[in-house]
Amino acid sequence: MFTIVRDLIRYNIEFAVGLFILLLLIAAVVLSFFSPYPAADIYVVPPDLPPDAEFWLGTTSRGQDTFWQLMIGLRNTLGFGVGVAFLSRILSLVVGLTAGYAGGRTDRVLMAINDSVMVIPQFPILVLFYFVLKDDMNWLMLVLILSALGWAYDARLIRSIAMSLRTRPFTTQSVYSGMSMRKILVEEHLPYVMPVVFATTMNNMIWSIGMEITLSVLGFTDVDTPTMGQMIYWANSHSALISGIWWWVAAPVGAIVILFIGLFLLSMSMNEYIDPRSRLNRMGV
């Protein structure tokens, strides 16, 4: 494992950069626990200061240190995205592979559920949930709701791949060689869908974090948990874009972009490594 990582770093620039970014983010998360100010408190520093030696990313119009806000916001947003992605990936893998492999009635039942979830229009539902839950509409709740909404689409994608995999000879072989369904799915099919899962993870995180931001911008989230969305919400409600407090907007946006480019590079290099048909694994001359 260690050698793999070492050589990945040494020989795969994408991985190196991606890993570096990831480490930065982890550092930020760790750092966030040492913030000198309580996350939600305002007017703890003079407002509207541009970036300088003391306040690296300046201060917001709410008298908060943009840097520390960013660190804490990154922590929450990252946790948020990962949480949603993780939970929903599991759901979609289980449903997608099973349905695609088993076919027949199982497939129909699973897809009926899948499609029902898929067709429910997410945005109004989220807004409605906000109204219903009000004070309870906290960070964790949102993670759960979004995971519950965000798996169906990818489950279908995975299913369609699993369906074509099933017609491959190696599947038939493994069936005749008496492998259990679980074993076939996990050992034979999983590696094939992994690259797609990685791609969907990215998109899922973009989707969930984007959702969080959209809801925040419209004021449908818990203002006491600083996230990227909350930063943008406050910046926006203080007209930061036009009143020249650019750093207040630039910080979260920059952070998000870097975060996703990092994720993308990682998933790219990971595909190379995991994809069973990438030249490397076929090198058994």
Binding site: S116, S164, T167, V217, F260
Partner: protein
């Protein structure tokens, strides 16, 4: 062939089931909202003007009857379905007594027009670049293009839209920043109107494409990079088949099935509208209609819009299911 017909009819049954489940779920969640349409309506009436408490209590009574909100949830649920069965979405509560359908149909064409073109453009752009990037793995240019799109994709849509608005509306004011056509425009069909509408749709569409193309690109790239290692691609290369032909008929053609599923989905999903686009660019559409309906506790309008998008997505899924066996012959109709 008959097997295929059976398959279709079975899937159609599933379609109906899904629509039923989806709409029912939405119905009950919608009615969980604490927002009370009557109270909303009263607020709208009395918030600024003279308000006599006695009168307001009277108003509550009459409006509740008028809006047909008496009766428990289940009764309302049955009533809802019996109306829907007759294709009637009922009157909007926040725009009483105007029929929901009339309100939706007014805004719908705009959403559909903008979203379909934006979706198609980003699909083609993203997949083309994705396929090329997956096939010509070490092309610097493609890597850059890819990174650019992937870098744009996570930018919060609101911010991206606003930056575009500032750039093309203020810094370099070449494009209109608001509305679907200019104010006081003559809405009878004419070339000027078409150009005007086109012109107003550029910024919103641009923003949608910028954030939309990236995910297609990543998906397609992943699929392609798998397919290029397939034997039939190697064989075709040995067979001296031209690389564009290989890319189109072998690589893309095989990657297309999952991607088309995605396309159908996003086309089905366009009925969700694009709230932020509509807010930022003041573009007409059903997105902001939905938000205001939710705020106003206008169940019937929310349900009308929700049902629309539910049916839209469900049909998209249905179509892709019955078509995919034709796209990928290996999939037996199941």
């Amino acid at each position: 062939m008959t097997a295929y017909l059976i398959f279709i009819s079975r899937r159609f049954g599933q379609l109906l089931l899904v629509v039923f489940l989806g709409i029912s779920a939405t119905f009950f969640i919608t009615h969980m909202t604490p927002v009370d349409p009557v109270a909303e309506s009263i607020t709208a009436i009395t918030n600024f003007g003279k308000a006599d408490p006695e009168a307001i209590l009277l108003m509550r009574k009459t409006l509740t009857e008028l809006y047909g909100l008496q009766g428990n949830l289940f009764e309302q649920y049955l009533q809802f379905w019996s109306r829907l069965a007759r294709g009637d979405l009922g009157p909007s509560l926040s725009a009483f007594p105007t029929p929901v359908s009339q309100i939706i149909l007014r805004a719908l064409p705009w959403t559909v027009g903008l979203m379909i073109s934006a979706t198609l453009i980003s699909f083609l752009l993203g997949n083309t670049l994705g396929a090329l990037a997956g096939y010509y793995r070490n092309s610097r240019l493609l890597k850059l293009a890819g990174l650019a799109l992937i870098g744009l994709q996570p930018i919060p849509y609101y911010i991206l839209a606003f930056i575009l608005l500032i750039l093309f509306g203020y810094v370099w004011p070449v494009l209109p920043i608001t509305g679907g056509y200019e104010m006081n425009a003559d809405t009878s069909f004419s070339l000027t109107l078409v150009l005007d509408i086109l012109r107003h749709s550029i910024l919103p569409a641009m923003a949608l494409v910028m954030v939309g193309a990236g995910s297609w690109l990543t998906g397609m790239r992943a699929l392609t990079s798998n397919i290029v290692t397939e034997d039939y691609v190697t064989f075709a290369e040995l067979g001296g088949v031209g690389s564009t032909r290989i890319l189109r008929s072998y690589v893309v053609r095989n990657a297309l099935v999952p991607q088309l599923t995605g396309l159908a989905m996003s086309l089905g999903a366009i009925f969700n509208g694009t709230v932020i686009t509509e807010i930022v660019f003041g573009y007409p559409g059903i997105g902001s209609l939905l938000i205001s309906a939710v705020h106003a506790g206008d169940y019937s309008l929310v349900l009308g819009l929700a049902s629309l998008s539910i049916v839209g997505v469900a049909i998209a899924v249905f179509l892709i299911d019955i078509l995919s066996p034709l796209l990928d012959p290996r999939m037996k109709a199941e």
